[in-house]
Structures are given as C-alpha cells and as structure tokens.
C-alpha cells in the first residue's frame, strides 16, 4: 500500500505532465492553423496547373517523357513522408507500417524498389527493423520550414532520376490532411503524370481550349515548363499536407493525453482522500479507546 505522501507526489507529477501535454496541444493547434492556410493556398495553384496541362495535352496531343506511362513499371521509387518528431499518435507508425508492407509484398515483383525518406521517423523505423533497406536519401527538418523552394529542389532531383531512367515510376506515400481529427495514408503516383481524370470538359462538350487560342511559345514548350512546375507544386502540396496532418495528429494525441492525465489525477485524488480518512478514523479510534482505558 503506497503511503499518502507517495500518492501526493504522484498527483503532482501527473499534473506537471498534464501541463506539458496541454501546452503541446496548444502549440500544435497554432501551427496547424498556419499549415492549414498553406494547403488552402497551394490547392488552387496545383489544381489549375494540372488542368491546363491536361487541356493542352488533350487539344494538341503533345508527347512528353513525363507524360508517357510505362505499361509495366519495373523500377519503383517510393518517397515516404513522415515527421522528425514523435508524440503524434499513429501518424508515423501508420506510414512506416504501410511502407514496410508495400516493401514486403512487392520486393520480388519489381526489378528495383528504392526508398527516399522525408523525416527522421521512417528512417529510424526501417533501421530498427533491419529490413536491409538503404534509402537513397533522407530529408530532414521538414516541419520547421516547408518552403516552395525546398520542395522545388526535391522535385528537381526526383525528376532527374526519372528522366535519366533510374526509375520508371515514382510514388509518394503521405498522410493526407482530412480534418483535425483524421488523417489518411495515401499513395499517389507522382511520375509519370497521370492525366486521365483531369481534362476539363467545356460547355459545348469539347475537350481542352477554344480553337483560336494563341500560344506563346509553342504548346510543346509551354507544357514542358508547366510539367516542371506542376511537379514542384505537387511535391510542395504533399509536404504541406503531411505537415498539417502531423500537427493535427499531435494535437489530437496531446488532447487525449491531457484527458487521460485528468482521469488519473481524479482517481489518485480519490485514493488519497480515502487514505486520509482511514488514517483519521484510526487515529480517532486510538484516542477514544485510550480515553476509555483511562476511565476504567
């Protein structure tokens, strides 16, 4: 049986922990707000570019290496987005487990299956598990500064890998930010660019642009530049989503932790009160029986 003093110490330490989790929740909430704004801003940009590419491709039947899907991709690069820090619930584990599953299921099927990790956690997960996976690169410090410039650099590198033929398909695994309460692991094919679902249909049922559209320079050149930018935009968007999802996950996790601490404090206080009462009762009995004995 713990003494009253032990329990009081435990209550105090739980309170301290609760204070920390509450503060962390608050910080994440503020950061989430910013990250959310980021996503809202990047979505129209990314969307618009893809539509334009699809429209040009539909009207002009432009060929481009980034657009041509290989029927049977053999060399796959998986870009896995996690966070650098923990304490955010299932956020990192879901992703890492998914990537591990993908690796185990498919390693024999493809000629080559490589990983690029963004964030410390995926790297640590794979290292700890000794799967024999050597990532071709690790990118850290994402949450601190997810800037377009940095995304563009990563995108450039990926595009180079693709164009030089190291890989014929690049996929992105990340947590999509659904709402503050839920995130979803999704896999997205980054390269080659998939246009099948995006071409806009106009009122008159015609695909693409008006016929008399002036292009400057030639559509083939425009599309080249657009593809490049579209690609950076996609990487940036995925990074923003992942960061927002991380903050959301951490916020929820910390909120739960705060609640649990509350519950723990309540039950500890109950025990301590019971103990206190028990000791008072014992004392009273001792005094009474002492007085009784003196009388006799």
């Amino acid at each position: 049986m713990p003494s009253l003093k032990d329990i009081r110490i435990q209550i105090q330490s739980t309170k301290n922990t609760q204070q920390i989790t509450r503060a962390m929740k608050m910080v994440s909430a503020a950061k989430l707000k910013r990250a959310q704004d980021n996503i809202v801003n990047v979505r129209p940009y990314a969307h618009r570019i893809l539509n334009v590419i699809a429209d040009i491709a539909a009207t002009r039947r432009v060929e481009h290496p980034l657009l041509s899907a290989s029927q049977n991709p053999q060399k796959i690069l998986l870009v896995v987005l996690t966070s650098d820090r923990g304490l955010c619930g299932g956020f990192n584990n879901n992703i890492s487990r998914f990537a591990e599953g993908f690796y185990k299921n498919n390693k024999n099927q493809f000629e080559k299956l490589d990983f690029l990790f963004v964030g410390k956690k995926a790297r640590d997960y794979f290292r700890a598990r000794n799967l024999g996976v050597e990532p071709i690169g690790v990118i850290l410090n994402l949450a601190k500064d997810v800037s377009y410039g940095m995304a563009a650099k990563v995108a450039d590198q990926l595009m180079k890998y693709f164009l030089e033929g190291h890989y014929d398909e690049i996929r992105l695994v990340y947590n999509e930010f659904k709402s503050a309460m839920s995130q979803e692991v999704i896999v997205e094919k980054l390269l080659p660019v998939d246009l099948t679902k995006t071409s806009t249909e106009h009122k008159d049922g015609e695909l693409g642009f008006a016929k008399d559209m002036i292009f400057e320079p030639k559509p083939e050149l425009i599309i080249e530049e657009l593809l490049e930018k579209h690609f950076s935009g996609q990487v940036y968007r995925a990074m923003s989503e992942s960061v927002a999802a991380e903050h959301a996950a951490r916020m929820t996790a910390m909120e739960n932790a705060t609640k649990n601490a509350e519950e723990m404090i309540r039950s500890l206080t109950l025990t301590s009160n019971k103990l206190r009462q028990a000791s008072i009762t014992t004392e009273l009995i001792e005094i009474c029986s002492g007085a009784e004995a003196l009388k006799g």
């Binding site: 980021n38 801003n41 990047v42 129209p44 940009y45 990314a46 618009r48 570019i49 334009v52 040009i56 800037s147 377009y148 642009f209 008006a210 008399d212 559209m213 002036i214 292009f215 400057e216 320079p217 559509p219 050149l221 425009i222 530049e225 657009l226 930018k229 950076s232 935009g233 940036y236 968007r237």
Partner: protein
C-alpha cells in the same frame, strides 16, 4: 467585367479583381492586355507585372519570377512561382543578393550551369530592385 487572379503556391495575391488593364512580362516581351483580348496562353519571364484596377488611375506593381498567364474572355489567370508587392520586398536583401551574384559572375570560377543560375538570379534581383522603387 474583366477579372484578374494572381496566385502563387504560397499565397493568393489577387483574386477576381475587376481591372482596366494589365501589363505582363510575357515570353516574347511585355504584353498589354485589355478587356476583350483574344484567348491567349503564354509563359512569363521574371519581370514586373503591372495592373490597374477599375476606377483607379494607379498602376500596382508586382515582381514575379517564372509564371504563366492565361487570358480568357472573362479575365486573366496568372500563376506565378513567386510574386511580391513592392512593400514586401526587402531592399537591403535584394542589394546584397545582387552584389553577390555580380561578384560571382565577374570573377567566380563558375561552370556553365552555375553561370546560368547566377545570371537568372541577377535578373531577378534587378526586377525586384525596380519594383521596390514603386512603393510609396
């Protein structure tokens, strides 16, 4: 009604603003676009974009780096990689970046790619410097 929308991946600068005219630094030189312009799609060079809102006689300047511009009968959509209003530009930083690019181009030991990179950088700083003069 001729509406201008200007967005970058990081922010929306202008959304659906009714405008009188726009000057864009297009691929083949500066274009002045007025309401009723033919449908057009062009890429943009680093440069100063200017627009005048309806019922205003003031031209607003925006420094943009790469972007593209789409003109349709209802208005203009511009997507730029970066875009800054004059008051957002840090003049000192621009001057520093420019000096550095200048020095490297003059006597740095650069390979061809780097030369190209710094030439672009230099061009951007020129644009920024020009636009930042336009703040009041």
């Amino acid at each position: 009604m001729f509406l201008l929308t200007l967005v970058t991946p990081q922010k929306k600068l202008v959304t659906d603003l009714d405008i009188e005219e726009v000057f864009v630094p297009a691929y083949a030189g500066e274009l002045n676009i007025l309401p009723g312009h033919a449908p057009l799609m062009t890429t943009l060079q680093p440069g100063a974009l200017r627009y005048r809102a309806k019922d205003s006689d003031r031209l607003r300047y925006v420094a943009i780096s790469w972007g593209y511009c789409e003109v349709h009968p209802q208005g203009i959509n511009i997507l730029a990689e970066t875009a800054e209003f004059p008051e957002e530009i840090d003049k000192e930083r621009v001057a520093r970046a420019r000096k550095r690019a200048e020095e490297l181009l003059v006597d740095g030991n650069l390979n061809l790619d780097e030369i190209e990179k710094f030439q672009r950088k230099y061009a951007r700083t020129l644009v920024r410097a020009e636009v930042s003069e336009q703040s009041e």
